[in-house]
Symmetry: C2
Subunit: 357 residues, 2 copies
DNA sequence: CCCCGCTATGATACCCGTAACATACATAAT
DNA sequence: ATTATGTATGTTACGGGTATCATAGCGGGG
């Protein structure tokens, strides 16, 4: 009662509301109950008498009440927020992960919060700090390469974390992905099987990115196993602004350095497609004169001519699995960390299908 | 002092912390100041004596303090959160808007919060409610078509809202985009200029989407102005799961219904590219036997052969502009609503470049 | 030497909910 | 009739910050 009066008084004094809309106290006053009952109508309706519930509901409706989750989360300790950091959305590689993730968590009533790191771990570190200030219930990171400070703060904070896109190393917490090393190894072996002998590899920078490093390992191993020699790996330094032109330029650079190259394995379809277009312009025959393979299985690889041989990665599935892992942890705090290998598959299309050897 | 003691006491009693990490009060105790001074070190460092500042900073560092923004936002009324609702990330159309938006707002220290509506206004309405519970500082919506309830709650709540992808109608608040009608009109006129006379239009469902409706208007107007007649518009019902195959099927359906069709204007590059691939398989010559045009200017249109004639839309710019509009409003609450037409451009490539008339 | 104004810091109240416990009845079990 | 068991609602005390106003110390002008 005291509370109700106080609140009515506040309104009558004409206090200007800083925030938006009416508060739970106002709804309570209108319905003739306390805040606690209003809160129950929202969280545990079955614990409220149907008549009361109805009165409260119509009070909420008539005032246009929208609960303030900031306040709720402050006490309850749960924000219902999942944060994700991806390098970029410029191509669908990481967008698919977000779609899968969103799909799963939104069914559980959680919301998604996104940051773009531009492939930079230092940027990522700042974003992690900023994200933790919002106390998310979980975090999804891209890759396993993070600054030491990032790993430490995440560990000490104890937030559930899922790292994606790899599976072999020691994660901060949970992990879902596939073996980039095996995938690169498999594709390289496939190129060899198809008859190529002088196979170059165009990679992203392995400096801030374990995917690139592991793919290089897989490539080199496969080459060595076949008793072949590997031309120097061509490293493409890039930020988020990736485009096919880069692949075209890489093609020319590789051919200049290694004139007898007969196949190029690109670390991304984006580059591989650029190389195919460049070959078309330069009159270089794909796949006979040069074989081209990519990574990611993007739509452009299906659309280009000749169609692109590539590695299919389980992007959507990684997002979905990451979501399920977080949900599992949230409903059972002591759930085991969990590491999941979702595998990959080779997609053999025209660009590396040699018709004559 | 009293406060400090109380807090130390709490710690000594061994109270288990529900949330994460140390609180501002603990930092204050360690530094021998009050919470208020710690707060100032974070928000207005220049108001704190350098010595004190240093003591507080090292206390924060040694405890691994991460401020709780939920608590801060509750009082300050600002969350530093911008929410965006897009239909999907399946193709880069909307992803580009998010990139542009994120780019601008993250420089201002704001974070991004994303929901996927799957092109459904009823889903969007639920998401708007959920979003408002988090009290974002601003909201970016895709398109102008929203449920009445959505428009009402947003208006009454008074959050800054930017609607995107159109420019001609009455927005909830602010708006940035281009004229879908004019764009469709321009492309249709271009097809006519190029010599096509029996031009079909393949559209998305105009039911929940003013973009589709306005593009149809532009198309029909251009056809009428040229004294031609329009074949029945082929409507593709789709959800977020859009793929090129849909375009291939649409091509066959249109050719069946209108055998003398000599050009098809698709409402998205995704469909147009699918049609080009289908034509290749069916042995239909593009652009001579049939002209194909798309919308959006996606990368696949640059990569497919023949390359795709399309409408370039200012996706990244819309995102950036939306960000700037929100920032403007946040720094000056009375800033005018603002409507911005960013225009479009035709990209004439091979798929509608007739070599013989 | 007094008052002014500025700087640095503190005290207090409050933001808007929820957890946890208390209370008031009503009904069921003994 | 008495106690146990529920059900419906209220009371109280925070959660972890920030706005606001108060206060102490200090140099300068008259």
């Amino acid at each position: 009662m005291a509370e109700k009066d106080r609140d009515v008084l506040t309104r009558e004094e004409g206090a200007v509301r800083r925030g938006f809309g009416p508060t739970m106290a106002e709804v309570a006053a209108l319905a003739g109950v306390t805040k606690m009952t209003v809160s129950r109508v929202l969280r545990q309706p079955q614990k409220v008498n149907p008549d009361t519930r109805e009165r409260v509901s119509s009070a909420m409706a008539s005032l246009g009440y929208v609960p303030n989750r900031l306040a709720g989360s402050l006490t309850s300790g749960a924000t219902g927020l999942i944060a994700a950091i991806v390098p970029t959305l410029r191509h669908s590689i990481f967008a698919d992960v977000l779609e899968g993730l969103s799909d799963v968590i939104s069914d559980a009533g959680l919301d998604l919060f996104v940051s773009f790191s531009s492939y930079r771990t230092d940027v990522e570190e700042g974003q992690i700090h900023s994200i933790l200030e919002r106390r998310p219930d979980g975090l999804v990171l891209t890759g396993l390469t993070h600054t030491i400070a990032s790993r430490e703060i995440l560990r000490s904070f104890g937030v559930p974390v899922v790292e994606t896109w790899e599976t072999s190393e020691a994660p901060i917490d949970m992990m879902v992905g596939f073996s980039n090393r095996d995938a690169a190894h498999a594709m390289t072996s496939e190129l060899i099987r198809a008859g190529y002998r002088r196979i170059a590899f165009v990679n992203g920078s392995p400096r801030n990115n374990e995917r690139a490093r592991l793919r290089a390992e897989g490539y080199l191993t496969a080459i060595a196993e076949a008793g072949l020699s590997a031309p120097p790996i061509h490293v493409v330094e890039h930020d988020a602004d990736i485009g096919p032109e880069i692949g075209g330029r890489a093609l020319m650079a590789v051919r200049q350095q290694t004139p007898d190259v007969d196949a190029i394995f690109f670390t991304s379809d984006i580059f591989a497609v650029g190389a195919i277009l460049a070959c078309r312009e330069l009159g270089i025959g794909v796949p006979d004169q040069i074989g081209i393979a990519g990574f990611h299985d993007l739509e452009i690889g299906r659309v280009v001519s000749p169609t692109l041989t590539t590695v299919h990665v389980p992007a959507i599935e990684m997002g979905r699995k990451a979501g399920h892992m977080l949900l599992g942890r949230l409903s059972n705090a002591s759930a085991s960390p969990g590491r999941h290998d979702l595998g990959f598959s080779l997609v053999l299309r025209e660009s590396a299908r040699r018709t004559k050897g």
